[in-house]
């Protein structure tokens, strides 16, 4: 048996390392590492990029020790539902342990990407001082830090190429943090500060942009007025990705023509976003570059259908469109006829709570786009009504869907024509779209839809369920099917203990399971935790009933987060979280 693998030892390690360097996907490298001990050792020692989907799945010190040559790390923290305030703010996801371990063991780290982590200013300070060759800092949906921390990064990271703060919550303690980039600093390629709520000094930004001749991505925050945008564009005509600031000003024909020519001057512009408070007078300034755009994000643009259509219908090469439901069905029909290369569409609700003046965006818009855009594979759609027939049509038109997230705003909404649940519609989606990787359900749904999903969604990796199902069988269908399921998040469904306990081993094949406002009891959690030592079963009860250890087995669990881990129970749980 040993003889069969002797060929692995025929080549020196460096040769295998070189071979492995052509394996770009983590999955492939993982597979290579499982072939034999030699390959495991060589692969591990030469791995340059590591992805940790759950920061608590492995101890930082262990990860750093196992992969000593890492140059780029991606670490994710809080569960996805934290985006919607379902996770207590002190739940965890702190970055300290990781940053400390990395500072010790990865001095040559160049790229660090955190998502939904709590990153303190101390962490940023440590990052700024520890990695001589630091190039990329990406903090997506993070919080816990302030502009003082950013000042430390700006001041110390001499080779910084990318600073991305997408959708993070940043406290503004240091007003002119951008001025901390020293004069000789010229390496910036991408800067995304769109999430900052405070004023950004446009003059300092201008000086920074002027000396960074390689800047390709610049996403401003809403405080940068239109007048200053002109100056920035003039200094960075090589920009490919622009996020504007506030897109309105007092009527001024001179400003308009200056803006228009500045935009025309950016011949490489492929991606546009921003457009806060857009004024009708200035939107036409972007018409000239629409044809070159591949990505357009208008999800802050509170303008009506006609203006939206005027822009979008010019974007013949669009691959990605984010827009509000103000686009309405007729606007989506225009998208379907103009944007034949469209791959991803996201339609957000302009008025998610009141619906005082209902917007004319219905299932028709979705159907139109599914019919007209043959390359459409990713959809996020908020609307107020749906029919099974529409979903069937979408399924028939677009079997190439990989991501389908439908949010019908009112829970338990039926097919408004037949008054039936939307089981058949969603079943058609999973049966037709064989490559579906991500699915979010909404509307009135019975256990039938889960039967279809469990049976047909063979490549599904992430499933989000809310206000759906009849009982335990629904969850059982999912957990006993869906071979490739990684993340399951459920809220307000009548799923109880039985399916969890019956499918306990399934949970170890997944990254995580979130269940809130369901029918799970503490007793089941205890049993699960006992049976599955490589799972952390976290019970979150915020109503302060006293220590969970003292509660009886039939105590209902408000929120439950189960994830696989080799690190054992974590030590940083707050009061409301208890690892069973």
């Amino acid at each position: 048996m040993v003889g069969r693998f002797r060929w692995a030892a025929m080549f020196p390690d460096e040769v295998w390392e070189h071979v492995f360097s052509f394996l770009t996907s983590d999955g492939d490298r993982n597979a290579a590492a499982l072939v034999c001990r030699n390959w495991n050792r060589i692969e591990r020692r030469s791995r340059k990029r590591v992805f940790v989907g759950n920061c608590y799945s492995v101890a930082p010190t262990v990860a750093v020790r196992l992969f000593p040559e890492v140059r780029a790390a991606v670490i994710k923290g809080k569960p996805h539902f934290a985006d919607f305030n379902l996770v207590p703010s002190d739940w965890g996801g702190g970055a300290e342990a990781w940053v400390e371990a990395m500072a010790e063991g990865w001095p040559n780290l160049e790229e660090l990407r955190f998502k939904r982590m709590v990153v303190s200013d101390d962490c940023l300070d440590l990052i700024a001082r520890s990695f001589k060759n630091f190039k990329v800092l990406s903090l997506v949906s993070c919080d816990g830090f302030s502009t003082s921390g950013l000042a430390a990064i700006a001041a110390n990271c001499r080779h910084l190429r990318e600073l991305n703060l997408r959708e993070s919550e940043v406290e503004e303690t240091c007003l002119n943090w951008i001025s901390h980039f020293p004069e000789p600093f010229t390496s910036l390629v991408a800067l995304d500060i769109a999430c900052l709520e405070g004023e950004v000094n446009a003059s300092i930004l201008e000086r920074l942009i002027s000396r960074c001749s390689n800047i390709m991505t610049l996403r401003l925050n809403h405080s940068v007025p239109l007048e200053r945008l002109v100056g920035l564009l003039q200094r960075a005509p090589q920009l490919m990705d622009l996020g504007t600031g506030k897109f309105s000003a007092r009527h001024n024909p001179q400003l308009f023509s200056r803006l228009e020519s500045a935009i025309v001057g950016c011949k490489n512009l492929r991606s546009l976003s921003g457009f806060w408070e857009p004024g009708l007078t200035y939107l036409p300034a972007v018409y000239s570059i629409c044809e070159g755009l591949t990505s357009l994000n208008l999800n802050y643009a509170t303008v009506q259908n006609p203006e939206l259509v005027k822009i979008i219908s010019r974007c013949k090469n669009l691959r990605r469109l984010l827009v509000m439901d103000l686009i309405e069905d007729s606007g989506l029909v225009a998208v379907a006829s103009s944007c034949k290369l469209l791959q991803e569409l996201r339609v957000f609700p302009s008025d998610p709570y009141d619906a005082a003046e209902p917007v004319s965006l219905t299932e028709h818009g979705l159907v139109a786009v599914s019919a007209g855009c043959p390359m459409l594979h990713s959809v996020l759609y908020f609307c107020r009504q749906m029919t099974n027939a529409a979903l069937l049509t979408v399924a028939k038109n677009r079997p190439n869907l990989t991501c389908f997230r439908l949010c019908i705003i009112e829970p338990h909404t039926r097919d408004y024509v037949t008054q039936e649940p939307l089981d058949t519609g969603f079943s058609a989606i999973v049966e037709s779209c064989k490559d579906l990787r991500r699915l979010s359900l909404s509307g009135l749904l019975t256990d039938l839809v889960f039967k279809s999903i469990g049976a047909s969604a063979n490549y599904l990796e992430m499933l989000s369920i809310a206000f759906a199902g009849d009982g335990d069988m629904g969850l059982h269908y999912i957990l006993s099917g869906c071979k490739n399921l990684r993340k399951l998040e459920i809220r307000d469904c009548p799923f109880g203990d039985k399916p969890l306990l019956q499918n306990a081993s399934k949970l170890e094949t997944m990254r995580s399971l979130w269940m809130s406002s369901c029918s799970v009891t503490l007793g089941a959690c205890r049993q699960l935790a006992r049976a599955m030592p490589r799972l952390n079963v976290e019970v979150i009860n915020e109503s302060g009933r006293g220590p969970l250890a003292a509660q009886p087995d039939n105590c209902p669990v408000e929120k439950l987060y189960i994830y696989r881990t080799i690190a054992g129970p974590r030590t940083d749980t707050p009061q409301c979280v208890w690892t069973v």
């Binding site: 919607f84 305030n85 004023e199 809403h222 998610p352 829970p411 809310a466 799923f495 109880g496 009933r545």
Partner: protein, 183 residues
Amino acid sequence: MASYVEDTELRLGLPGSDAPAARGSKRSLPDQDDEAGDESCCRNGGSASAAKAQVVGWPPIRTYRKNSFQAMKTETTTVEPEASGLYVKVSMDGAPYLRKIDLKVYKGYMELKEALDSMFKCFSQGELSRKEGCNGSEYVISYEDKDGDLMLVGDVPWDMFTSSCKRLRIMKESEARGLEFRQ
């Protein structure tokens, strides 16, 4: 080791312990649904009140988007009535009540200062003054801007001041000294 099945059988719980009621949304059978007539009825898990109660975290949109949308809504509604004036509250340390003034009425800082002088004369011994020329005067005018920061009046151009001022505060000079050194 009690089996899980026994644990969830109906039994008398201890007083104060929650009954194992299903916390998930208990859907009634479709034909008993009276939802068709009442579109605003929104059932959330465990809650008895089915009125227009806003469910936590639903619809699933990010907070920043919610905030920025609400900000946009209020911006659009306050930008329109520009003709009706820019009223801000004015408080003075030690005064029993506040006043309200319309910033649009004044053309500059001098006029504002004079107006505040006459308004609050009865409460103060000396004249109100700006940060320069503090001899003999006891008070300093400060304001709270859009970001919630306390700022000294007079630093920025008048137009910028009126667009960012949310309220005025007349403070004792001794308290105000700290403001000058704030970044």
